[in-house]
């Protein structure tokens, strides 16, 4: 356990949202838990918007019930919408290995990893979509389709009186145009498309709306933990450094720049006592990840005080503990999507040093909620500032927590979806 760890979690930033002033309606469930965080007035505003959609029925559609960020979000968001009095169901599009082989290629290609799209791929995709369009219970009047895989359902099942919205969670800024041309006719039939960040929005003929993703403060990855629990998990992972930790949690991918993190750490370590923790998912089923991990291990040879962790899936509680035990959390990516790992660290009141790329500047406001950097030297310099200055860590950590509470919790994402639908139904 790090001796230099902050106690900034002891600070309670003001909710300042009328919780003490206004009577609380009997809510129960998740809404009541969220009320403790965001305040009664914010919840009442959410309920007011929900009343506009009373009598409507929402159907969410994606392609998996477990695993992945979208499923995590839907598990909670669907419950919250029902608690708000809007009947909401969640349908999962099914497929065989051929279909998911095509959608995996599609996912990669839309992220920028170019792959050929064959006629057979098109046929497999369309055939499965036709079958699923008949099977799925798309019987609501407000249909929210998540990500590209089920996007073409609209071509087979749209009925009069329905409003269809496409929610694209992925970064399309480096999309393979063949795949996008393949999807575009379906996307053009939606009433609105939602993207996480302005840079992800492709040219469209339909209205586009920006809805940043959000985190679940009650999930294992983010929930509060006792000192004893943090210590016990870190001990189990063999993390027992006496000096302050700087940590980067992300998969072993070149765009996350783990080698750059290591270089920055060497600069820090030459001037201050520090320990680096690199924690990423298992690279066993990802050849490129395994290569990057091997390279990181090679470069770390002979560098003192570096711990490289290869965490198995479902290591949320371990990630939570590692972040909470860190003095400084880094996200030194060369390119990013939205980077919700930053919101997760800010939520835990951590001092964050992160690259000014993708969605990070929306979360890290320089000198307010964290420190933005553009180079290895900048990363080292700002990390040392944080290491030397507990007040700075505390102040920015508190402000970061408040910023996430106001802008990046699930209740805000629910509110945005409701606003999109409220605008459509008039």
């Amino acid at each position: 356990m790090s001796a230099a760890r902050d106690d900034s979690a002891a600070y309670a930033p003001p909710i300042g949202d009328g919780s003490q002033l206004a009577p609380t309606s009997p809510r129960g469930g998740w809404l009541e838990r969220y009320e403790q965080l965001v305040g009664a007035r914010t919840l009442r505003a959410l309920e007011a918007l929900a009343r506009k959609l009373k009598g409507h029925r929402i159907v969410m559609v994606n392609t998996t019930k477990t695993g992945g960020g979208v499923a995590e979000i839907l598990h909670r968001v669907v419950v919250i919408l029902n608690e708000l009095g809007i009947e909401t169901s969640w349908e999962v599009m099914e497929g065989d290995e051929h279909f998911f082989g095509v959608t995996k290629k599609m996912h990669n290609a839309l992220h920028g990893h170019t792959q050929p799209l064959t006629d057979e791929d098109r046929e497999v995709y369309h055939e499965r979509t036709r079958m699923e369009a008949e099977r799925l219970a798309l019987d609501g009047d407000l249909i929210l389709i998540h990500d590209p895989q089920p996007a073409s359902l609209i071509e087979h099942r749209r009925e009069p009186g329905q409003h269809w919205v496409w929610r694209c969670h992925i970064d399309l800024s480096r999309r393979d145009e063949d795949y996008w041309d393949f999807l575009k006719p379906a996307v053009s039939r939606y009433d609105t498309a939602i993207f996480s960040h302005i840079e992800f929005v492709p040219p469209l003929t339909i209205p586009a709306v920006l809805v940043p993703p959000s985190i679940d403060p009650f999930a294992e990855k983010n929930r509060d933990m006792s000192e004893e629990e943090i210590e016990s998990i870190c001990d189990r992972l063999g993390l027992d450094a006496a000096s302050p930790w700087m940590t980067q949690v992300s998969r072993y991918d070149r765009i996350k720049d783990p080698i750059g993190v290591l270089e920055a750490f060497k600069l820090v370590r030459a001037r201050r006592p520090a320990h680096l923790v690199l924690a990423g998912g298992s690279a066993s089923d990802d050849p490129e990840g395994a290569e990057v991990l091997a390279e990181v291990r090679e470069k770390a040879k002979g560098v003192k005080d570096v711990t490289i962790l290869e965490l198995p899936p479902q290591s949320d509680i371990e990630i939570n503990a590692i972040q909470r035990a860190s003095t400084v959390v880094l996200q030194k990516s060369l390119r990013e999507g939205f980077a919700l790992t930053v919101s997760e660290a800010l939520w835990k009141r951590r001092a964050v040093v992160a690259s000014a790329v993708g969605g990070i500047p929306l979360q890290v406001l320089h000198e307010r909620t964290g420190l933005l950097v553009r180079s290895i030297e900048g990363t080292a310099f700002q990390t040392i500032r944080f290491l030397d200055n507990p007040e700075l860590r505390r102040d920015l950590g508190v402000e970061g927590h408040v910023h996430v509470r106001d802008n990046f919790l699930h209740t805000r994402e629910v509110r945005d979806y409701l606003a999109v639908f409220a605008r459509l139904v008039g």
Binding site: P13, G16, G18, R51, E199, V209, H403, D406, A422
Partner: protein, 248 residues
């Protein structure tokens, strides 16, 4: 005099405005041509985007010019002209352009690094009735604790700027016997404070402004009723003090 003021809560939806700035010149041209909804998003909405910040961050234009274009002086000037929250959009646009027009021509064409361009956005609010209304200025004080930050911002700042007069609270107060409340609210709004502070400040000024009137009203009430109210007030105060004591 009898029409009620109905409070609404806004849910702003952000969308791409279609313009992109790659340098100071294109930022200037973008500001000259962008919609009011864009200025609203990038400048006026700052307090409601950071409602609990210690102080309101500089507007998006100022931040981009400072962080990306590395022009701190221009950034400071943009931050200052954007910090007056009740500026008219035309006035705001003129002030921002005035700052950018003073940048040396050779500096205006220096390009932003790749991946750090300025994308203009727009914000449009979807309104929902909050289920709270007031028929008199005094009732506004009573219901104020029920009003969320977005709603307060909407009725005090956004609605007047968007010229939706029937949703603007300050003129309504003036028409409904709350001139001093309207004046004090206007004063607080002009201060461009963080939204949670603005909300509290407005509420506490209004409550203070009603002390004199309430004293006169209560002085005319029967003695027994006043004694009963005094006992109830003391009980509430004792309850609050006990609550504080148990927390500490």
């Amino acid at each position: 005099m009898s029409e009620a003021f109905i409070f609404h809560t806004p849910s702003p939806l952000e969308s791409p405005a279609g313009q992109v700035a790659t340098d100071i010149q294109s930022l200037r041209d973008g500001i000259a041509a962008c919609s009011d909804a864009s200025l609203f998003q990038h400048v006026t909405r700052m307090p409601v985007r950071f409602p609990h910040a210690r102080d309101v961050p500089e507007n998006d234009f100022a931040r981009w010019v400072g962080d990306v274009m590395q022009m701190p002086e221009v950034s400071e000037r943009l931050a200052f002209v954007g910090s007056a929250s009740i500026l008219d959009f035309d006035e705001l646009r003129g002030s921002l352009l005035g700052v950018l027009d003073r940048v040396q021509p050779k500096e205006r064409k220096r390009e932003a690094p790749e991946g750090a361009l300025f994308h203009f956005l727009e914000a449009h609010s979807v309104l929902a009735p909050l289920g709270v209304e007031a028929r008199t200025a005094a009732e506004v004080i009573e219901v104020w604790p029920w009003i969320d930050l977005g709603s307060a911002f909407y009725h005090l700042v956004e609605a007047p700027l968007q010229r939706t007069e029937e949703q603007a609270l300050i003129p309504w107060l003036r028409e409904h016997g709350g001139k001093s409340m309207a004046d004090s609210a206007e004063q607080v709004v002009r201060s461009s404070r963080p939204l949670n502070i603005l909300l509290k400040e407005v509420g506490s000024r209004w409550r203070r402004s009603m002390i004199g009137r309430r004293l006169i009203e209560r002085a005319e009430a029967p003695e027994l009723e006043r004694q009963r109210e005094a006992r109830a007030a003391m009980a509430r105060l004792a309850g609050r003090l006990r609550g504080r004591g148990s927390k500490s």
